[in-house]
Symmetry: C2
Subunit: 205 residues, 2 copies
């Protein structure tokens, strides 16, 4: 696309580096900004800059937070003896949205991937083990670690690695249930999922 | 969605004011920015702010431009006697991309819409008429005005209004061809389009 303004072109190029935003969408966003008041552009860029400069991560679970300890870790009503291990913050938010979980979290910030050069040292596994050890030493110890990871090969490797590391501490390790989704049809469910859902069948009540 | 950080929430709220960006997409963009280097966020916001503060519009055709006169209006090779009237800059860029047009443009910046309270005075119609008059007075006069507007009721009203205003100047007024799109199937073309394509049939060569 031949854009007749260097300024517009620069903004389009920067915006189209964002995921799922191509040149056409970027141009539409830019033209929208030009139509709106200047104040909106300023409050938008201001919010983004402030966020990027001042963001903090919870020093315990690595959730995004405005305080050193996030609202979940510092809540008195959350069960600190159950830790749910997730790959990233969006997964944490997804579980929080279900309203079904009252424990705390541990955000890994990725999964082990030899192909992409991500080793166990690059994600927050050591911190999880340290957490498991530390809690064990204090009075309140972690009783259960839930692995809420995705179903990829990398995630499976990560789950296996974490399990091996945590085993010595005699803590219950669980993983989220895999099976036919609620509302899903058996006919269209892939064989692996359907197979697993039969093996891991539960008592009907 | 319950976001555990005020900073993230602010950025998500601002971003989701953009067209076609909902809360979920905004959150994904924000988390992407957090993962990337700070420099990217700064160059992004900088490009947007610079654009918004310094953007200019061509004083002749109202195209976006970094100079008082846009690259099309100031080009020596473009035919200044043919003016293509478009609703907005994206339409101009779309026509430019075809490579089929060598005249100049006039960007209206919208269409007449009584429902939305947009009167002829709110869009650049007076400027178009002035242009038609001015060129007539000088040596090089406008010979043809092409109406390249959309097919909505508002666009039709605008086209009708412009035609009425330009008629006294004895200038050829044309409109882009309506018909079955190239690659389109007759079976799935709506009746109005198909009807028009028969009435406006051209000699097969």
């Amino acid at each position: 696309m031949n854009i007749p303004s260097r300024l517009v072109e620069d903004a389009v190029n920067e915006l189209s580096k964002l995921p799922s935003i191509g040149k056409k969408t970027a141009l539409r966003l830019v033209l929208h900004l030009l139509k709106e008041e200047k104040e909106y552009t300023h409050s938008l860029t201001n919010a983004i800059n402030t966020l990027r400069n001042n963001i903090q991560y919870c020093k315990k679970c690595f959730n995004i937070s405005d305080t050193p300890l996030c609202s979940i870790c510092s809540s008195a009503t959350r069960d600190k003896t159950t830790v749910c291990v997730v790959e990233n913050i969006t997964d944490l938010l997804a579980i929080e949205n279900t309203g079904q979980y009252n424990g705390v979290y541990h955000v890994l910030g990725g999964v082990i991937s030899p192909i992409e050069g991500i080793s166990p040292a690059d994600i927050k596994i050591a911190e999880l083990i340290a957490e498991v050890q530390a809690e064990k030493a204090s009075g309140e110890k972690i009783k259960e670690v839930i692995l809420a990871l995705n179903s990829t090969m990398e995630s499976d490797t990560t789950a296996f690695y974490i399990t091996k590391k945590i085993k010595p501490y005699n803590i219950k390790i669980t993983t989220i249930a895999r099976g036919v989704p609620v509302g899903g049809e058996l006919e269209y469910t892939d064989e692996i999922t359907l197979g697993r859902s039969i093996i891991a069948r539960t008592i009907y009540e």
